[in-house]
Each structure stands twice: as structure tokens, then as C-alpha cells.
Symmetry: C2
Subunit: 194 residues, 2 copies
Amino acid sequence: MAKIITISREYGSGGHVIGEKVAERLGIPFYDSLIITEAAEKTGIAEETVKKVSEDASAANKYINAGFAHRMNMVDRQDKVFNAQREIILEYAKQGPCVIVGRCSDIILEEAGIDCLNVFIHADIDYRVEKAKTEYGLEDCDEKLVRKVDKSRKYYYRYYADRGWGEYEYNQLILDSGKIGEDRCVDIIISAAE
Amino acid sequence: MAKIITISREYGSGGHVIGEKVAERLGIPFYDSLIITEAAEKTGIAEETVKKVSEDASAANKYINAGFAHRMNMVDRQDKVFNAQREIILEYAKQGPCVIVGRCSDIILEEAGIDCLNVFIHADIDYRVEKAKTEYGLEDCDEKLVRKVDKSRKYYYRYYADRGWGEYEYNQLILDSGKIGEDRCVDIIISAAE
């Protein structure tokens, strides 16, 4: 019986595709950008904005130089999105085994007492820049952009999970997709989830 | 063709046994306590002392309250042991694929430009205390003792590798042996090493 699998991933490491393949092979649902669509519906906030504040550097950090009212507005909006996503993720989990990508799903499910296989996927920077260029269609992508997205995810995670991103204590499986290869990562996750 | 596999491990996580099984299945040499025996021969320092300063908290930190001469003596001895182990590990690596446990083998081989599969094995504290009691024969083992050994290894690593122990950037594979199970960890390491 497969478990719920959460996947956190560095930008460009192929975590989305790996998670999708794992779900497909296990015959269980896969949730990634659907969380954004549903959070937009739930909050009434535009999907583009939800995308922007979801997994982005915490609003509190990002708008530290903005006027107080504007800053509070952003923090408030981000919290609203986080809470909506939290409810959505818990709803998915209730329905049985699935693969959920990002959005602090590991800590959200842990706090609800739900046993998961938490996976973290990373790769070296050159591999990720190359992947973003060739597979994500971002021809102008460079190291700076990749690190910026990572930083946003890291801050978001630290802000809401109150612990470090990719720390081994909170992950049962951490994989270097660049060195191990995407398909082998899929095999390994399935083996560990059994 | 199997690679050189380095295994770093939390105390009680079964890293030694996992590494031994991986080596056996791949038909390659396994190096753990032999490094100590050979370092003792190489340096002329008693095997018991080598064991004590190897992977222990850095002498510099440990003897911070001792007299200066004594402290320098300990630091000097630990450096001597580290350097001897370094030479021994590089000698092993020259001979081809193998499994090497602990002793900063990952950074030693990395600095020599040798491509390895670096594996870090951990497990939650209850699992590890239980394992130390039942499998390592330490009936009086408790959380405090387990954390003390971890701390020593962590300090030793930080001192000589100058980076964090178990950080994902430096490991291609990080496994929770308590959750995944020892035998499945063996399968996964072999799969990743291929």
C-alpha cells in the first residue's frame, strides 16, 4: 500500500516530472499546480497572484521596505493563500495515497498526524540551469534566476514550517536527480514508498 | 560499473551494516574499522587512541579548558591520525570501487577529484537507541549517549571538511533507515550506484 508522498524540490531539479511519473506508476493522484487553481477559487484571489505569493519569499521579508499598510496587506494575502492551500492539501490526504509537490505539504501533513514519505530532490546548479533552458523553455535562464527561485522556496518553507528546507531530519529520502538520473529517482521513490 | 561509495551515518542508524551488505552484493571491498587499524600502524599511535580521536569532537574544541601544551598535543595527535587516514583512504580509492564508512572520506576523495556516490544515513532517535541496545549490545544506551556520538562525528566533520554534516548539497543520496528499512536502503544504494 503506497503512502502519501510529499516532494520538495530545488528549482530545475525535475521534481515535478519525477513526482508525476511516481504517481502515474503507482496509479495515485498527483497534485502540483492544481493546488494553485483551487486556492484561487477558495480565496477569490486571482490565480496569478496566488502563484506569485505561493512558495515565494515570505511577504514579511519581501515587503520589508514597503509602507506598513501595503506590507500588512501582502502578509495577510500570503497567509490567506497558505491557509487555503493547507485545507486543500488536507482534503487531498483524506482521500488516500497521492503525490503532493511543494507548498510545505510535509509539515502540514505532519502537524495533522498523517504519516508520509517526505522526499527532497536537488541537483547541482549547472544541471538545473540547463534543464530550465531546454525543458522549461526559459532560454535566458541563468544561475542567478535559479538561485532566486530556490531562495523564495527556502524562505517560504522556513517562514511557514519554522525549520530548514531540505534538512535530513525531516526527509526520509533526499536525492540528487542530476547524479542519479530522473528515471532512477522514480524507481527509488517507489521502492521507498512500498 | 560500481563507483566508490562513501557512507556517513548517524550513530545507531545501521550505516555500517548497510555499507557491508552493499559491498558484499557488489563484490567490492568494504572499509570501516580497518582504517583505524591501519592508521595505528602508520602513525605508531595506539589503536585505542586512534579510535578515540577518530571521528571524535575536534581536539581543539574538546580540550579547550585543558592546559595549552596538553591541548596542542591532542590537536597535533588528531591531525596526525586524520592525515594518516586520509592517505589510507586515497590508497583504497586507487584500487577501484569500494565502500568506505565515515572519516570524512567524502571530502577527502572530492578534494582529490575522485567521483563518488556520497550517502548519508540517519534515523529517528528512538530507533537508534533501540538498535544500540539490541544490536550493538549496549544495554544501558540512552538518547544522551547516542546524541553525544553524533555530536562528535558532526564536530569532526565540520572541523576537517569545513561544511555541515548531512547537508544535501554534498550527498547524492540521504536515507532514513528507520523508515525505509535497512534492506531496502541496500537496494536503493545499489540502484543509485549503478
